[in-house]
Structures are given as structure tokens and as C-alpha cells.
């Protein structure tokens, strides 16, 4: 394992070092003292293991396809946005828009998430062990969002497809949501998935999916449309 000490370096310099080490075939890189710098490790396409010892700023690991990222700290906005594939483990909290528009991969947040977690997800899996801010899962298209704690307002608003599991309570649900009790396959999926990240599945999960009443324009449903047109 190689180490990069961020002291006195810009995000640009750190990213150049990361890329050089990857090019040399380094399989595991430890990044020390990132001090919430923005845009670290973005656009990486190699299956490298990256460990950030400290908090990271906006867009850490944005647009990656393959890396495994561990953050021993918290993360700013847009963590892992547009990820194609890869893994994020965050031993802390995340800011707004975690896993925004991801198409694949897995993100596990052991703390809380800010607003719009899992917004416009197009695949992949986002697990938030703690609570989520407003508009989690907004306009989700595919994929799975598991919130073990509580959610603020407008959870799962205007989803196209995908599944949200909520272990706590939602202050309010978004437009066109359909809530049900998880069936046995859902329960098994939750246990199996959460267990591998050391998270208890022993919570009263609810399953939330799209009501599909917003899929197509229907004049008969103006009661919904007046909220969202």
C-alpha cells in the first residue's frame, strides 16, 4: 500500500499523484489528511482501493467506474455522483446529493446523509445507516435506496422506478409514492445486504415504490398533477 500525504498540496496535485500510482499498478492507496479538499479521485476507471484518512469535500470519487473507496471521515456534496461501478464506505456523514444519478455500484454511509440522497439514481445501491435529509430518492429511476433511520420531507418524490426501504419514519412522503410492507424476498434482501456491511436489519422497514400515476399525462388525475406539473 502506498501513501499520499495531502499536506500543502492542491486537489490537482493529489489527483496527479493518485493517477501516477494507479498507472504504476499500485492496488491500494492511503490518502492522509485530505482536509475536505474537493474533487479528489474523480473520474477514475481502475479497480484501485482508496482509503481517505479524514474528511473529503465535494464530489469525491465522482464519475468513477471501478474503484473501492473508504472514507474514514465525512464527505461533502455529490459523493460518488454518476458512479458507473465501484464501492464507497463512509465512516461518517455525507452532505447533499450523495450517490446522485449513479448508474451502478454501492455506497454505504454509516452516518447521516444531507438532502437529496440518491437523487435521480439510475441503478446501484445506496445505504444510509442513519437519517436522511429532504427529498431523498427524488426522481429516482432505478436502483435501491435503503435508509435505516428517519427521513425528512418529500421522501421518494416523483420516482420513475427503483425501490426505497425506510427503517424509521418519514416526515412526509413525496408525490406518487406507494408504501407497502416488505415481503419475504424483500426481508431476505435487506438482511443479506445490510449484514455484509455490519448493519442490523432488525428494523420495521417499509417499502416505497412509484405509484406510477405520474408516468403519463392523464387529465383525470389533476389532484396529483396540480402538485407537480
Amino acid at each position: 500500500m502506498e501513501k499520499i500525504n495531502c499536506d500543502g498540496k492542491t486537489s490537482r496535485e493529489i489527483n496527479v499523484e493518485i493517477r501516477q500510482l494507479i498507472k504504476q499498478g499500485t492496488p491500494k492507496i492511503q490518502v492522509l489528511s485530505p482536509l475536505a479538499r474537493h474533487n479528489l479521485a474523480v473520474g477514475l476507471l481502475e479497480p484501485v482501493e482508496l482509503i481517505f484518512e479524514g474528511s473529503v469535500g465535494y464530489y469525491c470519487g465522482g464519475m468513477i467506474d471501478g474503484p473501492q473507496v473508504t472514507i474514514n471521515g465525512s464527505a461533502g456534496w455529490g459523493l460518488g455522483e454518476c458512479m458507473m461501478n465501484g464501492t464507497f464506505i463512509v465512516n461518517g456523514n455525507v452532505g447533499n446529493s450523495a450517490a446522485a444519478s449513479i448508474r451502478g455500484g454501492t455506497m454505504v454511509v454509516h452516518g447521516d446523509a444531507g438532502a437529496r440522497a440518491g437523487i435521480a439514481m439510475k441503478g446501484g445501491l445506496l445505504i444510509v445507516e442513519g437519517n436522511c435529509g429532504t427529498m431523498a430518492g427524488f426522481m429516482m429511476q432505478k436502483g435501491t435506496l435503503i435508509i435505516c433511520g428517519h427521513s425528512s420531507d418529500a421522501l421518494a418524490d416523483s420516482m420513475y422506478e427503483g425501490t426505497v426501504y425506510l427503517g424509521g419514519e418519514a416526515r412526509s412522503l413525496g408525490n406518487d409514492t406507494k408504501v407497502s410492507e416488505p415481503d419475504e424476498p424483500d426481508q431476505n434482501f435487506l438482511k443479506r445486504t445490510l449484514l455484509q456491511f455490519g448493519i442490523s436489519a432488525d428494523r420495521p422497514f417499509k417499502k416505497i415504490v412509484s405509484g406510477r400515476r405520474l408516468w403519463n399525462f392523464e387529465r383525470q388525475e389533476f389532484e396529483i398533477w396540480k402538485e407537480v406539473l
Binding site: 473520474g43 465535494y58 465522482g62 435521480a120 439510475k122 408516468w215 399525462f217
Partner: protein
Amino acid sequence: MEGSSVAEKAVLRHSRIWRPEIIEDIQAKAELGRYRFRGFSALLSRALPSFDDLTFIPCTLTRIPLEGYREKCSTKTVLGTRFARKPIELDIPIMVTGMSFGALSYNAKVALARAANRTGTSTTTGDGGMLPAERENSKTLIYEVLPSRYGFNIHHMKMANAIELTVGQGAKPGTGGVLLGAKVSEQISKTRDLPPGVDQRSPCRHPDWMGPDDMVIKIEELREATDWQVPIFVKMGATRVFDDVKLAAKAGADVVVVDGMEGGTGASPDVLLDHTGIPTLAAVCEARAALEDIGLYGQVQLIIAGGIRSGADAAKALSLGADAVYLGTATLIALNCNKPIYVEDYHKLGTEPYACHHCHTGRCPVGITTQDPELVARLEINAATDRVVNLFNALCAEIQMLARSCGKADVHDLEPEDLRALTLEASMIAGVPLVGTNKVFGGGPGWKRAT
């Protein structure tokens, strides 16, 4: 007898308030219970201030013209010189704007890409990701990063020659795009990760940033992901242009694209097309003034879009400060949009050639804005490519013709001094003298050239 004589002489009197199209619109909404959709461009009955309100004043004795049919007049256009290691170099200042695969057919996208390639210019992906065939056929491809992120793929972005961070578009600034279910085919649904047949409404806010402060970091992220090699464009609909352009430039854009309210679309709420944004003429003037105000005119390049129809429009935009123009609707018209062929299919849509704005239905009679294989086959790619090539060549020649007449050996040397306003409002907007007065009415944008 007297009464019948009056009746015989009576003429129909239409209200200017309750015109036939107004009555039709009210009755249509009374049926629909929602706003109306359509494609194409603004259909306002009111004439907008436009490039038609300006005229060139070529050389006579005070200046010496170039030989119009002979002498060289450069059209080379370089974009992205501020931060990118590899700025875009184009042979002409006319580019193909972003129109998605989904809004457009495969054949239309490929024809535009090939035409751009043959004329030494660029094409742009649109809201739906990159069509591989578009990359294969384009030497210079601009990859759009839109709020929806439909089809976003980092591998595709890394293949691009420039990135366009889209904040909005002229047809519907402040609102996202629409692709109605008829056009969300199996293929389109896969590329966009949507259910087939769903009425797709794109968001207008990016999922991972909000305002200009965040955009600074977002632009840096795009640069880091592409190793600072390619230019970053920021595209916006024309609204508060003077302030928005400054914010985009300040945030680190290499190139700012401003799309006026005449800009086209494959589908939009009708009310937005006609009642939002400012005209392209005003947009270019405000944009230039904005860049001058912060000392970045000439460092940040400016692309103007929205209803550019001719070499004259393009030349006037260049004169007022643009480095290049985007063409969208005009290229589709070159492809065959609104051409009087397959007329019976226009009639099935309740319209006719020259008045069709039914792109949103997915039943485009000429195979451009459709995903129906039978309709798509009506657009023969090679012939369509030739027509767009011819259009670009013609427009480029028109720009050169005007530039030479103004004594310019480079189309980018055209300047506001080469123009006069035909209307008082154009003089006030563009800051060029009203014809016959030698006087600028209103402050105008100023027209210092960067050195």
C-alpha cells in the same frame, strides 16, 4: 330591404384580442386540462427584435472592401483558449447545437455528425447521452452534462473534445426537457434508464449542485476528470444574461453559450416557448457587455444560439461579439423538416408543411424527430448529410461575403461599427447608430475589442 342590403355588404370582423388561434388554444386547453406541448420554436404573432433589425454598412470610400468573390477571408474558429490544454479548432464559426438521440432519430443524428465532420465543425450530444455512431462520425464532439444526466457515461465524456455543462436552454429556460412517451422507445428507455413509453420530464436543476458557487467546484471536477485537457462550455437560456454570463465566466468556463428565446426544442410546454427568455439579438449584446465588464471578453469565447437562420444572422451575431453560432432548427430544416413531401402524414397530424411543429408527437413525417423505424427510414443519411453540408457551406460563404464587403479578411474581425440599426429599439439594444442619425439611442453594450 334595407336590412338585407346591409347584410350583403357585411364583412367578417375578427377581434385582434380573440384571434382564431387564441380561441383554438382556449378550447384545446378546455379539453386537455393541462398545458399544451409542442416542438419547434416560438410561434408568437408579435415580431421580436431580431437580427433583421440591423443592416451592414459595407465599405465605400471611408473603408476599402476586399474582393468579394476572390480574396481570402478566414473562418477559422478557436474555442476554449482560457484553461484547456486542447482548445477546439474549427474551420467555420457555425456549429451544431445539442439535440438528443431521442428527440432526433438515429439517421438525423448521424447525418448531422457527418455533415459537421465534412465541414470541419462540431456536433453536440444532447440530453440523452452519447450515441456511439455520433462519436464515430464526428471529429469534434461536445459532450453535454445536463441536469438529467440521462445516459451519462464517464467513458463517453472522456472521449469528447469539449464538455458542455448545460444550465438551461433558450426554448424553455428554467425548465427541463420533455420527451413524451411516444418517443421513449425500447432503445431510448435503455439509454436513459427509464421505463419504455413513459412521459419523460427532465429536471432543470443539476442533482449535485445548485448555484454559481457550487458550479465553480463542479467545473473543476469536470476538468479533473478529463485531466484539464478539453474546454468546458457553460450553456444557458437567455434570461438575466448580463449577470448570468459573468457568473459562468467567473466560475471558470472556457466558453459561454447563450441560447435566445427563438431557440428550438423537440418538446416543450407551449407557454414557455412563447413567453420566456429574451431574444437572441438582445442576448448577444448583453453577453458581450458582461464579458467586457469583467475584463474577459476575448479570453472567454462566446457562442450564440437561438433562431440563427442565415449567414446574415450569423455575421451579425459575430459582429456584435459572438465567436461562433450554434445551429439547431436550421439544420433540421436542411434535413427536410417542414418540406412538402409525405404531405398526407402532415395532414394526419392536423398540420401541413411549413407550419409543422409536431416534433413532440414522434410522428415526424420526414423521419427527423421520430423513433418509428418506418418514418426514420424516410431520412436517407447520405443525402441528408449532403444537404446540411451544403447549408453550412452556403451560410459560411454568406458570412464571408458580408465580411469582405466590410473590408475584413477574417470573419471574426466583424464589429458593431459595421452595423446600423433599422429600428429605434434595435439601436437601443445593440448600441449601434440608428440609420440616418449617426446616433446611438440607449447605452448599448459598448464595443471595445480585446487586445
